[in-house]
Symmetry: C2
Subunit: 306 residues, 2 copies
Amino acid sequence: MRDPITVTILGSGAAVPTPKRNTSAQVLSVNQVPYLIDCGEGTQTQMMRFGVKQSRITAIFISHHHGDHILGLYGMLSSYNLSNRTKPLHIYAPSEVHRFFVLQKDFFGEVFNYDIVFHPISFKGVKEIYEDKRIRVTSLPLKHKVGCCGFLFEEKEKEPNINKDAIETYELSISDIKRIKDGEDHILEDGRVIPNAKLVTQAQVPRKYVYCTDTAPVIDKYDVVKGVDLLYHEATFDCKQNLLAKKTGHSTSVQASEIAKSVDAKRLLIGHFSSRYKEVSPLVAEAKELFPNVEAVKDGGVYTIE
Amino acid sequence: MRDPITVTILGSGAAVPTPKRNTSAQVLSVNQVPYLIDCGEGTQTQMMRFGVKQSRITAIFISHHHGDHILGLYGMLSSYNLSNRTKPLHIYAPSEVHRFFVLQKDFFGEVFNYDIVFHPISFKGVKEIYEDKRIRVTSLPLKHKVGCCGFLFEEKEKEPNINKDAIETYELSISDIKRIKDGEDHILEDGRVIPNAKLVTQAQVPRKYVYCTDTAPVIDKYDVVKGVDLLYHEATFDCKQNLLAKKTGHSTSVQASEIAKSVDAKRLLIGHFSSRYKEVSPLVAEAKELFPNVEAVKDGGVYTIE
């Protein structure tokens, strides 16, 4: 059974929260390890409400320094501190987010008893910014009123599995196995060649998730997002608000569907809805015409990459 | 029927929020006009959840500049701005709260399209800081790690009502009525004196509410709180944590009950519970021994002054 990858939505609204939608935040969970993306006001409470294991988070990714994406950060870091966290925390964010943290830390005169390491992200081109044994994260510069990045989360490619039968039949040594995993054929003492494909089972194709807000529709220019399994794209407005979207550096749901189609996404989630929409089903309907596999996220919703 | 006065609890937890308790905030509602007191992270969302008419708020009272009492302020003010508020907003708070607002406003470069007027409160003695046609608010310096004030909210004394019968019987003029409302007797043309008490029905006694957190138990030194109808007093700890309470500038639930008894409060609400307590019923039980009319508040709870 393959490790599950899920996205838990903590906030699916735009700048102003509504009774149903908090401001932006979500958790990508890879094999039950949570990665936090953006941190609007109330994110720590949303995590408790939706069962996210907060203390396990060691990496946070922030798209940009607007309030609806960062006003929950200080309170969360402070709660970690008061809860005697010792594990370091790494934050990948535009440098302005660091500046905002320092302003608040200095104001409160708080001494943090765990390491908070800010890693500034660049708005110039696609950059790999993070990797651990499970995933690799790439920043994708977006087009908004201030410097802003989307993020591509990619599962790491796994080595092929050597077939157990092959190990026994050919009495493979550890160095044989290493060579075969690297793709080589196996040559027997009598000179016979056993093709690599007969010795291994290829690991499953790594899965990809893209988080993309706040932005005009631009990420189809990045080759790395092609064929993404799950694309979260903002859809702040409906298609009648095209000009407003352009003016404010946002997208309509139709533009989100165009992007999904253009990058050959397998599935599209839309969110970051303006508080003017009490019902977002019209936005979904508009997007569906071009890209049928689309869904509006809701706070507390959990979306799985199959 | 008398106008209702209610307190709606938005956050009843101490520094770290829990799944059930947000950080400090509450709304006092006098004749359906809401006054916000403190503004922990997520206060704007709590107000939506618990049906507070946010847009009607024109006066906010902040006790002190610790994060769990102010981290929700900027987001709320910003949401008002994005929702095209024009009505001015008055904030009665220690000057540090203003400084924190300015830091954030400068950081975000936000231009507010409505007036936000900060009124600094003093930590030296009891001061009347606010009045409108319904209430009068007095700040009560507390004893915490930083400058902090509690607040006494007093309904204004109403004029007595002239009895309708008297108006008809004695053909009272407007100037007669004014004199009688000021307490004078009425003298008829033939010299007979009609005593004031026969002409008027006294208005009901004004009600009082006191909000008191974060603090060591000190407010019994203020005469103005004597006989308060409803006292909200912090009870961060149980009585075994007496030393910790003293060290951190907080109170135990027993100390809250001592204060309630000492000031002759009619009813006591306790809150601002440390996140260590999953259940606060032991804290209530401890307080009840000395002061039976005590209750632990909960988020979303509405408490009425009868």
